[in-house]
């Protein structure tokens, strides 16, 4: 019987023929925890009666959610993570300013066929490299720290096929918002989602990670994209060679199938407080904004910064609302400096924050005031997400975000650029 990408990857990892519904005990290749989930995991591992992690080389610790620390109490929690890394000889501790955990995993650790478990819900991002990435909580992470194993139920898969060319100023973020609208915030609960089709083949890796990153916003366990020449070139750039093409079997069994025609997708926004309350920008246009945020594990990559800077340069206008730019990693920030993007952002009035999660998680670097409205490139617009339940968060692509920063209200990028 044919296999989906999830079934193939878990079969290779467990050296067994597995299909959806099977429950397997897996050896974990990479376990990641950050300053929001590592501290509890460290305590829980010790309570399990285990002093040392099973394999320090397979543990990745990242201080990205509240970094550099905004308070003395958080500094003490960061110190606990650093001490744990030291006690356990964990070489991969990424401290303040290194970047967002998922971007660091992509840049430095993840390769196809790995089982990647993160103490963060957006660990589903790594399926764009055909790794089985999924998020778990601190106790599951603690059990992996201790024993290197976790149990997984092999998920059923939804196939999302996207075909044809995208309109100009429409991006992968618009594709995933449209997908979320169709599947719903809970529609893919416990499922894997495969993104296939000619539109996906033509996306670069930055754009692909935006898609898989948001699988969890539909309840998904992981998002997957086949390994093709684009993926292989990306991996070769990191020194990873001899990776075969990886695609689902033609007779793989899908629980549901969706077909999106790319040419009909418009610039989209998710209207608060639901990720699946998605509308074309034209329906909410002219809504006044107080803040724009371009960054996060969804849309803080070099392509996103390039698109944003290009629009600012083309319009030659300063932003009318406070605009925060958060590069997803130090590498991305360095490249953005080398390519002159940061100068463009500063020249046109934006604020650059250190690589990390920034205001997306609502603890620092751009918390919203009562009644304020933010347009963000992040993945969640839940009530209170950016630190204030009395504020509203709209979600969009970087192009829509920067066009809106220039006008001061939600704006279809095509309306000011074409």
């Amino acid at each position: 019987m044919g296999k989906t990408l999830a079934e193939k990857i878990i079969s290779v990892s467990t050296k067994k023929d597995v299909y959806s519904g099977d429950v397997v005990l897996c050896d974990v290749d990479i376990v990641m925890a950050h300053d929001g989930t590592a501290p509890l995991a460290i305590e829980e591992m010790k309570k399990m009666g285990v002093d040392k992690v099973w394999d320090p080389n397979k543990v990745v610790l990242v201080i990205d959610h509240t970094s550099p620390s905004p308070s003395d109490r958080i500094s003490n929690i960061h110190a606990m993570i650093r001490n744990f890394a030291k006690e356990n000889n964990i070489p991969n501790l990424y401290d303040a300013g290194s970047g967002i955990c998922h971007q660091l995993l992509i840049e430095n650790h993840v390769i196809p066929f790995q089982i990647v478990i993160g103490g963060d819900s957006h660990t589903c991002t790594h399926g764009a490299l055909c790794a089985f990435g999924t998020g778990m909580g601190s106790t599951d992470v603690a059990a992996i720290f201790a024993y290197g194993k976790t149990w997984l139920r092999v998920p059923e898969t939804f196939k999302v096929e996207v075909a044809g060319p995208l309109q100009s100023y429409v991006y992968s973020k618009d594709i995933i918002l449209q997908t979320t609208k169709e599947i719903g915030a809970a529609g893919a609960t416990y499922k894997a989602i495969e993104f296939l089709g000619s539109t996906i083949t033509n996306l670069n890796m930055d754009e692909r990670f935006t898609l898989t990153n948001m699988a969890v916003e539909m309840g998904g366990k992981s998002g997957f994209i086949p390994v093709d020449n684009v993926t292989k070139k990306f991996l070769e750039g990191k020194g990873v060679r001899n990776i075969p093409e990886i695609k689902p079997d033609k007779d793989a069994d899908y629980e549901r199938e969706y077909l999106l025609e790319a040419e009909y997708i418009e610039p989209m926004v998710a209207v608060p407080p639901r990720v699946d309350n998605v509308k074309p920008v034209s329906e909410v246009e002219a809504l006044e904004l107080d803040q724009v945020f371009i960054g996060t594990c969804t849309n803080g990559r070099l392509s996103d910064l390039k698109t944003s800077a290009k629009i600012l340069k083309k319009k030659k206008e300063k932003v009318k609302v406070r605009t925060i730019i958060g590069p997803a990693s130090r590498n991305i920030l360095i490249q953005a400096i080398q390519e002159g993007l940061i100068e463009v952002f500063l020249k046109y009035g934006a604020v650059i924050i250190p690589p990390g999660c920034g205001p997306c998680i609502g603890r620092h670097l751009g918390i919203l005031g009562d009644g304020e409205v933010c347009l963000s490139t992040q993945n969640r617009n839940f009530k209170g997400r950016m630190g204030n339940p009395n504020a509203e968060i709209y979600l969009s692509s970087p192009a829509t975000a920067v066009a809106s920063a220039i006008t001061g209200y939600i704006t279809d990028p095509r309306s000011i650029l074409e």
Binding site: L40, E44, H65, I74, M136, A143, K221, G387
Partner: protein, 167 residues
């Protein structure tokens, strides 16, 4: 495991930011310190109104959003005996079992009212609504999960077993 308690109702898609806001969770590992903020965005007085043994009945996709384990931990710390939802978001489901918060998937959100008294029996997979004299059945948890819950969570379970017994 058997529980009897009063029902608090919640809707669909209750997310982890609503259960416990991200702005509180980074500052401390002490659950007692943040428990007063449980469900603050939905009902600011919830933590004060709830009594030990009470039961939450919610719609679908309960616990969606982030992987924060503080979400089941604050609910458990408030003394909630069990959460019954039409279905749960996947990470919350694992986290609840792992932290020893008993959870049940059963579509009751349209069938019970706030304040009803329910009696839940995990071994039998049965729920009685004593206020309305109605009975419901739910699919029992796997033995593996029931064992973890009865141990009080994955930490105790792994400490007792010294590792994963699954092959």
């Amino acid at each position: 495991m058997k529980f009897k308690g009063k029902v608090w109702k919640f809707g669909n898609d209750v997310n982890t930011d609503e259960i416990i806001s991200g702005k509180y969770k980074y500052d401390t590992l002490n659950i007692n310190e943040i428990v007063k903020h449980t469900f603050e965005a939905i009902d600011p007085d919830f933590a004060e109104k709830v009594s030990k043994g009470d039961i939450i009945v919610a719609g679908g996709n309960f616990g969606c959003g982030s992987s924060r384990e503080q979400a089941p931990l604050v609910i458990k710390q408030l003394g909630i005996s069990t959460v019954i939802a039409d279905f749960f978001a996947r990470i919350f489901y694992r986290n609840a079992v792992n932290t020893g918060l008993p959870i049940i998937e059963c579509p009751l959100s349209e069938k019970v009212d706030e304040g009803d008294i329910l009696e839940v029996n995990f071994e039998e997979g049965s729920i009685k609504n004593l206020s309305k004299n109605e009975s419901f059945e739910f699919r029992k948890l796997s033995m593996f999960m029931l064992d973890i819950l009865e141990a009080g969570g994955l930490v105790n379970y792994l400490r007792e077993k010294k590792g994963f017994p699954l092959k």
